[in-house]
């Protein structure tokens, strides 16, 4: 199996604070990996480094680009990383609120659109063909998440759960090979969460995706992830199969301990 996304000794410092230090990870094709840890452990910061929003203070990030070659991306802009095939969602939903559901998704097709501004300004046939293709493709994606009948609504008017789904659709529309999901089920009820996880599994199969997922709900991560990485105070304290990780004393102490007691 090929490695799609690899982080080597990734560290980032904000002021005097080491938010993440020496983060190592290897994401292989077809994996579904969970990134967990208590609040403030550095999960989202790690995502932000992997997607170019924060520049790491030191370390390397390597992505296998669409044509197969590995590329160092730690100096690239987010849009360049997205075009290499790594897409993400945001924990604190960042939809284009005042645009329609369809436009939210269409924007994510931008770098795949096969026409230039001049074609659009002159309304050449290639413009219409591409717009039609994009429209049909995006409606298909929306259909998968049962959002197709809401394509003309403004994103801000969707209920919370559907906004989270739209974030995923939008990321999918960039045609990624690797999808980074930042707490996709945050704020959903157990039933919705369960359905969403089924959906994530099925799109993973359908689109041949590799997924890295930040999640708070422990049961859920245990249920669908094949491998788990545990962060605490910016350091990886354990990784492995869900069953192994839950037995790790460090993990129990840092994070699971309290929850386990609560569950018991």
């Amino acid at each position: 199996m090929t490695t799609l996304l690899q982080a080597e000794n990734l560290s980032i410092q904000f002021g005097g604070l080491m938010a993440v230090s020496s983060f190592n990870m290897e994401l292989k094709e077809g994996e579904l990996v969970g990134l967990i840890g208590p609040n403030g452990a550095g999960k989202t910061t790690t995502f932000n480094m992997l997607t170019g929003i924060h520049k790491p203070t030191s370390g390397r990030i390597i992505v296998r680009s669409r044509n197969g070659g590995p590329r160092n991306i730690e100096k690239l802009q987010p849009y360049q990383i997205t075009s290499l095939g790594v897409a993400r969602t945001f924990q604190n939903i960042r939809l284009f609120k005042d645009l329609t559901v369809l436009d939210n998704v269409r924007i994510a097709n931008h770098f795949n659109a096969q026409y230039k501004s001049i074609h659009a300004l002159l309304r050449l046939p290639v413009f219409y063909q591409e717009e039609k293709r994009i429209y049909e493709y995006n409606m298909e994606l929306l259909k998968l998440f049962k959002l197709e009948h809401k394509s003309d609504e403004l994103a801000k008017n969707l209920p919370y759960g559907e906004q989270r789904k739209l974030e995923i659709v939008r990321a999918l529309a960039t045609k990624p090979h690797t999808l980074l999901l930042d707490e996709p089920a945050a704020g959903m009820n157990p039933q919705e969460t369960k359905e969403l996880m089924e959906l994530i599994k099925s799109i993973k199969e359908q689109f041949n995706l590799t997924i890295l997922l930040i999640e708070h709900d422990m049961n859920l991560v245990m249920g669908i992830c094949e491998r788990i990485i545990v962060l605490d105070y910016g350091r990886v304290i354990a990784q492995g199969k869900p069953a192994e990780v839950t037995r790790d004393p460090m993990v129990i102490k840092a994070y699971l301990g309290k929850e386990m007691e609560n569950d018991a």
Binding site: A87, F96, A108, K132, R170
Partner: protein
């Protein structure tokens, strides 16, 4: 689908031409008097510049405060091309737009990499500085005394208002078509996504800096075209015509009509130009009322006039459809079935 689209385009073009012929006939027959024709022409020029401003401030979300400066660059360039180099008026106007776009490019490159606020202050500074430069470049601009004797669109005195109006109208239609075609396309959606959320847009594969530059340069180009129309229409230019106050007037047109709405800019542009002619007696008080309008709008109706109508855009084809339905009482549902 294909034929539906073509039908729409053809309807729009026919209506545009009809409107053009009709308005010009009214002007030519002096049913619309010369004074009103002039006001309409000034209105069209103001709307052109305001549409340019709306592109960068309303659609891209980056406040620019120096559009009078870009207009000045366009106006003086056009005048210089015609008077010094003998370039015909139409290429000269486009030349004015291009030089203005070049200034936009130069200002945008250092500024648009940074957060949006810097563009506001840098364009404000540009608007002030360009005036200083214009005053000092006596060779081309005639200095503080101004530049006189710019050849008008036509030397025929009787037809001059008609021709000026027709040309301004043509450019207005051109600019509206340009912007609306752009907006309803992938690059246009990229531009609007920057206004909505820069970080998310970047993460969705949009080269944010590139599209800010694109929108700003195009915006400066359009303002330059407006200046290019201004020069032969008035026949006289002075640096103080393009002061900061003028830039704020364009901003008011955009904000009053609704940021990110083309219909609003057109309505507010003509409306305010018309009002301004009639409120001349208010003189300086106008300059107190204008900023108050800005503040009150921001506090209570930030989406402007068109925000009251769901921010919809007017379309000629849509109008034709409505009239068609009204006249022939065709049920829209039934019509959908026909397709």
């Amino acid at each position: 689908m294909q034929s539906e689209r073509q039908k729409k385009t053809i309807t729009s073009i026919i209506l545009l031409v009809l409107g053009f012929v009709f308005l010009n006939a009214l002007v030519a027959m002096r049913i619309i008097d010369e004074y009103t024709t002039q006001v309409l022409t000034i209105g069209a020029i103001n709307v052109v510049v305001a549409l340019g401003l709306n592109l960068i401030s309303g659609f891209t979300g980056q406040l620019a405060l120096g559009h009078a400066g870009f207009m000045a660059v366009g106006a003086y360039t056009t005048a210089a091309l015609v008077m010094k180099l003998g370039v015909p008026i139409f290429p000269a106007i486009f030349g004015g737009g291009l030089i203005s776009a070049l200034f936009g490019l130069l200002i945008g490159l250092p500024t648009l990499r940074l957060r949006g606020d810097y563009l506001a202050i840098v364009t404000l500074g540009f608007g002030e500085i360009i005036r200083v430069i214009m005053i000092n470049l006596t060779e081309i601009t005639g200095g503080p005394a101004g530049l006189k004797g710019i050849p008008p669109f036509t030397t025929n005195f009787y037809w001059r208002p008609v021709v000026s109006f027709a040309i301004a109208y043509l450019f207005l239609v051109l600019v509206i078509t340009l912007i609306s075609n752009l907006l309803k396309s992938s690059p246009g959606r990229a531009i609007v996504s920057i206004r909505e959320d820069e970080i998310a847009a970047n993460a969705m594969g949009i080269n944010v800096f590139y599209y800010k530059m694109f929108a700003f340069t195009l915006s400066a180009f359009i303002a330059g075209l407006g200046g290019g129309l201004y020069a032969p229409f008035f026949g006289y230019l002075s640096p103080n015509m393009f002061n900061f106050q003028k830039s704020v007037e364009f901003l008011i047109i955009v904000v009053l009509g609704g940021m990110g709405n083309l219909t609003g800019t057109v309505l507010a542009g003509f409306g305010l130009t018309y009002l301004q002619e009639f409120l001349r007696f208010l003189q300086d008080y106008r300059l107190v009322i204008y900023p108050l309008i800005l503040i009150v709008l921001m506090l209570f109706q930030p989406s402007g006039l068109m925000g009251l109508f769901g921010n919809r855009e007017f379309s000629l084809a849509g109008l034709a459809e409505q009239v068609n339905q009204l006249l022939f009482r065709k049920d829209p549902a039934e019509k959908a079935g026909e397709k």
